[in-house]
Symmetry: D2
Subunit: 357 residues, 4 copies
């Protein structure tokens, strides 16, 4: 009933705060005899790591993952896998300002209202630092899914500036600091984001995650639909305000003729002539690419003073100083990929419990 | 692990197919000593019932709910509440066409791929008929929430035609067959939808659900966030392709200054100067209105022949004859309200388990 | 979080009270394409049905099960299976006595203390009538397990009178009204129980359930051990006060030499030279017979007046009149078999989620 | 669905193997603002710690617990509490014998059958070392329960030698190395156990756990009964083969008159004239002491050679050398207390979710 775990058959629980000694994650239900080394996880953590360009926070965290259990002689044993990452950059800092005031757009007030206490150091549990553990869990999930399922993500909109889908090139995603599949958009974003950063402001983004090679049949009707679990997974990422599958909100403006994906016989079963469904019908995968997009709000850590209230209920103003991300959506790309991986791994295991063939 | 239940502390499981003898729902965890009569549930079912205007399917279902357990002498006992609704309109019909072919945009193929069998009569388990049970569960959830929390829904976009928010008037919602809060939009939609209906086509929609009076503190970080569970709840409704909270996808285009809701001292705690967050920060309610929108695709039951494949893998064409909804989004409004109610009831109970004050 | 469901992958929820219109059960997670007719369930319900000899309550219930969903054209579809049984023997009765007083040894007081309300008609939700649904769920579980796993139960002790294990003959179990494997014990019990019945008294019993053909590997360490889930399953049956596996409590008096089951190579893998473990080591099945015993207390519905308190807190006396079972343990045998079946089915599905080979 | 977590509202997950770098536990759902220091947990770990007398294994583990998250400025924050204990005594050892052979009475074979791999170092995940984490979780649970609920345990039988209940004195439990409440029995056990130890043999035991001050109303009918969850909790402890509540198996031999606990009006509600129910009726606490007993088998690590089979399926013999416990039941006393605490804490939170008054 408490909410710090995700998944049912492939299940992980995360723990830790932004400025505690470490953060970690326990994975339960991972199949046995899967080769797994720390490097298999590290490679994904390194993609998310902050401070890799001038466009992300300069917090220096090596984010070295350690495997403490569940792996023996290089393979999983089927018992819980405990992962831990030290918090190295706990710089001694003056928190007196945010200790007393609720930062607008942050979880300061809502945590305080819920628990009657909050760890005010850097957001505590509500910090995006927790997303490192999602990436680590996602790395293990990818091992469970195997090589036939490929998961990739891209930033498709920064502020009001969207990519041109005709120019989409997956190879470009690794070539710029924005995970942008459109080289012209990437170039334009660089200038735009420099402006945002210098103004001490921030901007939002839209991320798209695509999973290829997903077999048909994953998803549990009628509440644990594959798309419903994906919606929950993505919406649970810090700062996400919207999720859509396939055509998404645009489907509201389509006619039934345009929206329904027609089918033809294919070499290997059937094939669809379009993918407005985003790979899911009735909550169950169809074998097409599973396509999810989510919107990330601009971070509320900005240099402009904002009206707020302090813990004694007095009107006040606040400026969130120090390092910050002008576009937190950039770092959300590997996190979205990871959440896609854990949802698919969970449903793969759940599916074979009921339908073992 | 199977997926036909929703919620954790306030939990319900639904069963039944479109053309079986009946459908039903079992609610577990409902607090004791709450007055509950069948009429308390029926009133909400009547709002969802098809056939109430020329804009919804003409399937005639009285949808009479019966309480079979869990209520004694007019109040809940704390034990499971079993609700059942007879399927009366099981007209004998020729299913030979859809028995053999997969309807595009429907769950026919994905169910068949998952289970190796499907109940082809009217969609079986994947039919929107199941949503009657969501409405019934939502009626019980409203009783749990009490009178201080008010949940209302409206259709805010039909096809490409959105309401004008400056003209929003909740009283209008009950005055037209579309749950439209903007009388001018409602008038325009009537003509638009008649055209769609006569063409045998269909159109999508966007629905907005607002919950007022939600206390701060509901939601379980970091995976079972209130907004994450709302996203799952709404995405699990038939035909939904996108969900957003507060500013939603528009947040991607905002600056940090515009997005973060400022605060001032209020008479009763603090107040926010705007509500782009949609009443949720860090996954926990803030006391502001909780605002969710979701997009419904156009139904795939249309009169234009569509390319498909049959169960033997041969190319074919299909037309879905008979009754259909030109805009299934209309009937999704009461369903969305119900899902908001069950999510809030669940989190209310979960919250007081951990934080009993 | 509420407690009216059992199992995780093979999961069922029961509802209904002793004197409501009906009782029922919803099974979720049942694999598709399993042949299932009402008769497959009825055969097991008939074994549990009261009124079959003078040794069980004379309540007349045909206990006719109906399948309302989840089965199409004679096979399971993978969607929820709803089962319902009408309560036919709701004889109009004067409940004024038990309405006002708490029956000793019954759940009257504890339900009242928990919920502040109770359905006093025949025990309401706490009635053993609920166990009919366990038997129904167990019948479906047996279908999931298939023919290679055989589950049988026997009464091995009535009052202080135990069977002689050297005389154990499974064929005898069907030959007497006690499910007794020892014909001499059965003969002795007949006279003993007649005496108990005529005295308006009651007696306890011990039941043994044996599952043969269970494959090695079922069970989830370290909390959801197979034996831990069996303990919970059996202890959840009405009136059960103790559960043991294999040697059970007698293991406390054994030496390590006598307790550990030695192994030798066998034709089909290894074989054990004894089975004090009861088929479970470290919470995981070994391939030996899984052996569970549980103790059932004597029913508290007896003709001798007993001291009690009424709902106003006044001292009082009570006699529980009307039909009753002199040894409720007799009817617990099919219930224990059913709970063994559901635990094994659940763990079979759970196992193949993680370990698909 | 995987099985390394316990509880629903008060939920903890454990990880780690006997000979990995560390073991740990993550608690989720702990209420906020509870004072908690490492010393509050350490005091209970110290009671369980091996090597405190000649009657327990000489493995030297300081078992120093560290709190890594969820506590801020000395109080719980409501977010996950991560506890870790280093494994310091990982002596380099020759595992070649047990690597190749299955130890009778241990989980070696069943883990191997389930996972196709096992961590053979000291039992890996199946080692009783895991129970240190149960004790740690139990220490937090005691904080949640508060001072009005008191949980104590005692060894009531060693081998075939039971305590005399008339001599029961809780103060004695802390005065001997056996947690024995009967000083005469303790004296006798000392000699008996020396004999067992010197013979390289082992003996079983029965433990009794008593919780005083439990409010009436805890427990969730009909599957998550308080006694059913206690049965699961105790049976999940390593080497436990039987669990009973109140009169337990002896209830089978009682008459209905003797078994049902009569009631009289008391100063503070009602009082019971006896406690054969063990504080639970219908799965719900009555306000009486909750009394649970469980049987622990003799450890299978003994010096006598035993017949076994090796991983290649060949007949073999094995002797388990090195440190061992002649009566592992002794160290199970603090573990049983802890499991009582976590079950009660879980049900306390669950109860107030549904019944908040």
């Amino acid at each position: 009933m408490p909410g710090n775990a995700f998944g049912q058959a492939f299940r992980f629980t995360t723990w830790g705060e932004s400025h505690g000694p470490s953060i970690g994650c326990v994975l339960d239900g991972v199949p046995p005899r899967i080769p797994l080394r720390e490097a298999d996880i590290q490679v994904w953590l390194d993609r998310r790591r902050p401070g890799q360009s001038r466009y992300t926070t300069q917090r220096k965290e090596p984010d070295r993952v350690q495997i403490l259990s569940g792996v023996f002689e290089g393979v999983t044993t089927g018992t819980p896998i405990s992962l831990v990452i030290e918090n190295e950059d706990q710089r001694s800092k003056d928190y007196s300002e945010i200790k007393e005031k609720f930062r607008p757009g942050h979880a300061d007030y809502s945590y305080w209202a819920k628990y009657g206490i909050r760890d005010y150091r850097g957001g505590g549990r509500s910090s995006a630092r927790e997303t490192a553990l999602r990436v680590a869990a996602g790395a293990v999930a990818r091992k469970v899914l195997g090589d036939t399922i490929r998961i990739r993500g891209a930033l498709v909109q920064m502020g009001a500036h969207a990519v041109e889908r005709d120019r989409w090139d997956w190879a470009q995603v690794e070539q710029n600091p924005f995970w942008c599949p459109d080289p012209q958009a990437a170039a334009a974003w660089a200038g735009y984001l420099d402006g945002v950063r210098k103004a001490g402001s921030s901007t939002g983004a839209v991320i798209e995650i695509v999973a290829e090679g997903v077999p048909p049949g994953l998803g549990e009707p009628v509440y644990d639909k594959l798309d419903a679990d994906l919606a929950k997974a993505m919406m649970s990422i810090n700062a996400v305000k919207g999720v859509e599958i396939g055509a998404g909100f645009a489907a509201a403006g389509l006619s039934g003729e345009d929206n329904a994906d027609e089918m033809r016989a294919g070499n290997d079963g059937l094939r669809f002539l379009s993918n407005r469904a985003g790979g899911v019908l009735g909550g169950i995968s169809t074998g097409q690419d599973v396509v999810v997009r989510f919107a990330v709000k601009p971070t509320s850590s900005i240099l402009t003073p904002r009206k707020t209230v302090d813990v004694r209920g007095q009107d006040s103003e606040i400026v969130t100083k120090g390092r910050h991300d002008p576009c937190v959506g950039i770092r959300a790309v590997p996190v979205g990929e990871a959440m896609m991986a854990v949802v698919l791994a969970d449903h793969l295991l759940r599916h074979r419990a009921q339908c073992p063939d």
